[in-house]
C-alpha cells in the first residue's frame, strides 16, 4: 500500500513539473506579444521608463499617427489587394492543374509531377533577383516599344509572382488529396452525362473544400507576411505592402526614437492574422499533417 502511494506522489510531482514547464513556455510566447500590444498605447515618454509599467492611459494617437503619418493605412490597402489577388490567381491555376495531375493519365504527367516536386526545393529568395532582372529588362523593352513601362512597381505582377512561387507547395498538397478519391465519382458523373468541366467544378471541387481551406490559410499567411519579393519588385516605396512598410518604419522610428507609432504599426500587421487564427486554428493545426513540407 505504501509503495503505491509513493508512486502516486511521484506521479503527481511529475505532472506538476510538466505543467510548470509548459506554462513557462506559454508565458515566454504570450508575454512578448502582449507586451507589444501594451506598448502600442503608451505615450512617448513612457517608453523610456520601466518596460513593465502599465500605460497610464490609452494613447490611441499612436494608431492614428501610424495609419495617417506613417502611411500604414495605404500599406494595409496594398496588402489586402496583393494578398487577395494572389490567392485568387493561385486557386484558379492550381486547382484544375492538381486535379488533372493527380487523376488523369496523359503524356508528360510524370514529368510535370516531378518538376513541381522539385520546385519545393527552390528557394524563392534567390530567384527573386533574376525575376527582378527579367522584369526590369522587360520594362526597358516596353519603354522603347510603347513608351510605357508596367512590369515593375505593379501589384498585379507581384500577386502573379506570389501565386507562381506558391504553386509547387499548393499542387503537392492538393494533388495528394485528389489522389485519395475513388474513381467512382467521375464514372457516375460521366454516365449521367456530365462533361469533364462540370464534373470537376460541381462534384470534385466541393468535396475538396477542407483541403482548399488549408491551402488558402497557409498561403494567406505567407503572402500577408511576405516582404522580400515586394521590396525587390516594387521600387517605389509608396506602393509597398504592410510588412515592407513596417520594416521601413521600424528602421526610421528607431533612429527618431518614436516608439509609439512603431508598436502601433506592429499591432496593425499582427491583428488580422491573430483574429483569423483564433477563428480557424482547428483547421490550421489539422492541416499540419499534410502541410509538413512548408518551407
Amino acid at each position: 500500500m505504501k509503495l503505491k502511494s509513493e508512486a502516486n506522489s511521484g506521479e503527481r510531482l511529475y505532472k506538476i513539473f510538466i505543467y510548470v514547464v509548459l506554462g513557462l513556455l506559454a508565458v515566454l510566447i504570450l508575454v512578448p506579444v502582449l507586451w507589444v500590444v501594451m506598448a502600442s498605447v503608451k505615450e512617448t515618454v513612457e517608453h523610456y521608463g520601466n518596460p513593465w509599467a502599465l500605460p497610464t492611459h490609452l494613447h490611441w494617437q499612436n494608431f492614428v499617427d501610424a495609419w495617417n503619418k506613417a502611411d500604414m493605412g495605404a500599406y494595409m490597402g496594398h496588402s489586402v489587394l496583393v494578398t487577395g489577388l494572389a490567392l485568387v490567381i493561385l486557386l484558379v491555376v492550381a486547382l484544375p492543374a492538381s486535379y488533372c495531375l493527380a487523376r488523369f493519365k496523359f503524356v508528360g504527367q510524370k514529368f510535370f509531377n516531378t518538376c513541381f516536386m522539385a520546385g519545393l526545393f527552390i528557394n524563392v529568395n534567390y530567384i527573386v533577383v533574376p525575376i527582378y532582372l527579367m522584369l526590369a529588362d522587360g520594362d526597358k523593352w516596353l519603354k522603347n516599344f510603347l513608351g510605357n513601362t508596367f512590369l515593375l512597381n505593379n501589384h498585379v505582377v507581384v500577386a502573379i509572382v506570389y501565386a507562381a512561387t506558391a504553386l509547387p507547395f499548393t499542387i503537392y498538397l492538393l494533388s495528394s488529396y485528389f489522389a485519395t478519391l475513388p474513381h467512382d465519382f467521375e464514372e457516375a458523373a460521366y454516365i449521367d452525362g456530365a462533361g469533364y468541366w462540370r464534373t470537376m467544378l460541381e462534384i470534385i471541387f466541393p468535396m475538396a473544400k477542407p483541403s482548399i481551406i488549408t491551402v488558402v490559410l497557409f498561403n494567406f499567411l505567407s503572402f500577408w507576411n511576405e516582404y522580400i519579393i515586394v521590396k525587390t519588385l516594387v521600387v517605389d516605396k509608396d506602393l509597398w505592402t504592410l510588412p515592407a512598410g513596417l520594416l521601413n518604419l521600424m528602421q526610421a522610428q528607431q533612429s527618431a526614437a518614436e516608439y509609439g507609432p512603431m508598436y502601433a504599426g506592429l499591432v496593425l500587421v499582427m491583428l488580422p492574422v491573430l483574429i483569423l487564427y483564433m477563428c480557424v486554428q482547428k483547421n490550421l493545426t489539422k492541416g499540419m499533417t499534410v502541410g509538413g513540407l512548408k518551407g
Binding site: 506559454a26 510566447i29 492543374a97 532582372l133 507562381a164 469533364y196 507576411n225 520594416l247 521600424m250 486554428q281
Partner: protein, 293 residues
C-alpha cells in the same frame, strides 16, 4: 475519337496555365541564377560579359563571404538542434500525458509561426533593447546583473538563434504531435507492463515510429532555415554590427548592388549547392528501416 480530343483539350486547359507560370517565374529564374553566375553584369548596365568561373574564384578569396557562410552554417546547426530537440520533447509530453488545457497550449505554441518575421523582429527589438528599457535587461537587473548588449557583436548570433527557435518551435511541435497521436496506445501499455520507463518509451517507441516524419522535416528544415536566417537578419540586424551577423543570402543581396549581379548570383549558386548537399546529407544520415505499427 471525338471524346479523346475533348479529354486532351480539357487536360491541356487545366495544366497549361500552371506549367506556364511555373516555367516563367521558377524554372527560368533558377536557370538564370546559374547562367548569370558565369557572367559579369553591373548594377546599372544590363550588358552581360561572359567571364567563366572568375566570379567563383573571387568568392573563394572573399573573407566576408566565407564568414557569412560560416554564420549560415552555425545558424543551421544551432537552430535545428534546439528547435527539433525541444519540439520533439514537448510533443512527446503533450501527446502522452492526459493534461488539462492541452488545446490551449497547442494554440499558444503555434502563435509565433503565424506572425511575420518583421513583427517578430519588432518584438525582439523590445526584448533585446540594450538599456534598462529592454525586457531582458530589466529582468537581469532584478537579479543584479549588468545590462548586456544583446545585439552587440559578441552576442548577436545567440540572440538570432533564440528568436529563430522561438518562431519555429510551435510549428514543429504541432506537427510531431499529430504524427505521434497516430501511434497506437497498446504499444505503450505493453511496454509499461514490461516496466519500460517514460524515457525509454519515448526513445524506443515514439521516436522510431515517427522517424519518417522526423526525417522529412529535417531535410526540409535545412532549406527553410537558410531562408529564415536571411529574413531574420534583414529585419533584425541588417547583417551588423561589423558583419557579425551577416548570413550568406544577406551577403548576396548586399553584393548585387556592390559587385554586380554576376557575383551575387555566384553566391546564390554556392548557397544552392550547399543547401542541396546538406539536405541530401541529412537524408542519407537519417536513413533507417521504416517501422510500421
Amino acid at each position: 475519337m471525338k471524346s479523346n480530343l475533348k479529354r486532351r483539350a480539357f487536360v491541356f486547359a487545366c495544366v497549361a496555365p500552371a506549367v506556364i507560370l511555373f516555367t516563367i517565374f521558377m524554372v527560368v529564374p533558377t536557370f538564370n541564377v546559374f547562367r548569370l553566375s558565369l557572367f559579369q553584369r553591373s548594377t546599372f548596365n544590363p550588358e552581360e560579359t561572359f567571364i567563366g568561373l572568375q566570379n567563383f574564384e573571387m568568392l573563394m578569396k572573399d573573407a566576408a563571404f566565407i564568414r557569412s557562410m560560416q554564420n549560415m552554417l552555425l545558424l543551421i546547426v544551432m537552430v535545428t538542434i534546439f528547435t527539433m530537440g525541444t519540439a520533439l520533447l514537448f510533443a512527446g509530453i503533450l501527446t502522452r500525458e492526459k493534461l488539462k488545457g492541452q488545446n490551449f497550449f497547442r494554440i499558444v505554441f503555434y502563435i509565433p509561426n503565424i506572425l511575420s518575421v518583421v513583427v517578430i523582429s519588432g518584438i525582439f527589438s523590445a526584448i533585446y533593447a540594450p538599456d534598462d528599457t529592454g525586457m531582458l535587461n530589466s529582468i537581469l537587473g532584478l537579479f543584479g546583473g549588468k545590462n548586456i548588449a544583446w545585439k552587440g557583436e559578441q552576442h548577436v548570433m545567440t540572440s538570432i538563434v533564440i528568436a529563430m527557435v522561438w518562431q519555429a518551435i510551435g510549428y514543429y511541435m504541432v506537427m510531431y504531435m499529430s504524427s505521434m497521436a497516430a501511434v497506437p496506445e497498446s504499444l505503450y501499455e505493453s511496454a509499461g507492463l514490461d516496466g519500460a520507463s517514460r524515457v525509454a518509451q519515448f526513445f524506443q517507441i515514439t521516436i522510431p515510429l515517427i522517424w519518417t516524419n522526423i526525417r522529412t522535416t529535417l531535410t526540409f528544415f535545412v532549406i527553410s532555415t537558410i531562408n529564415m536566417a536571411y529574413l531574420f537578419v534583414t529585419a533584425m540586424t541588417g547583417g551588423g554590427p561589423n558583419r557579425a551577423s551577416n548570413v550568406a543570402l544577406f551577403y548576396m543581396y548586399e553584393q548585387k548592388n556592390k559587385s554586380g549581379y554576376g557575383y551575387a548570383m555566384a553566391i546564390g549558386v554556392v548557397i544552392f549547392l550547399v543547401s542541396f548537399g546538406l539536405s541530401a546529407l541529412v537524408n542519407k544520415v537519417t536513413e533507417r528501416e521504416v517501422l510500421e505499427y
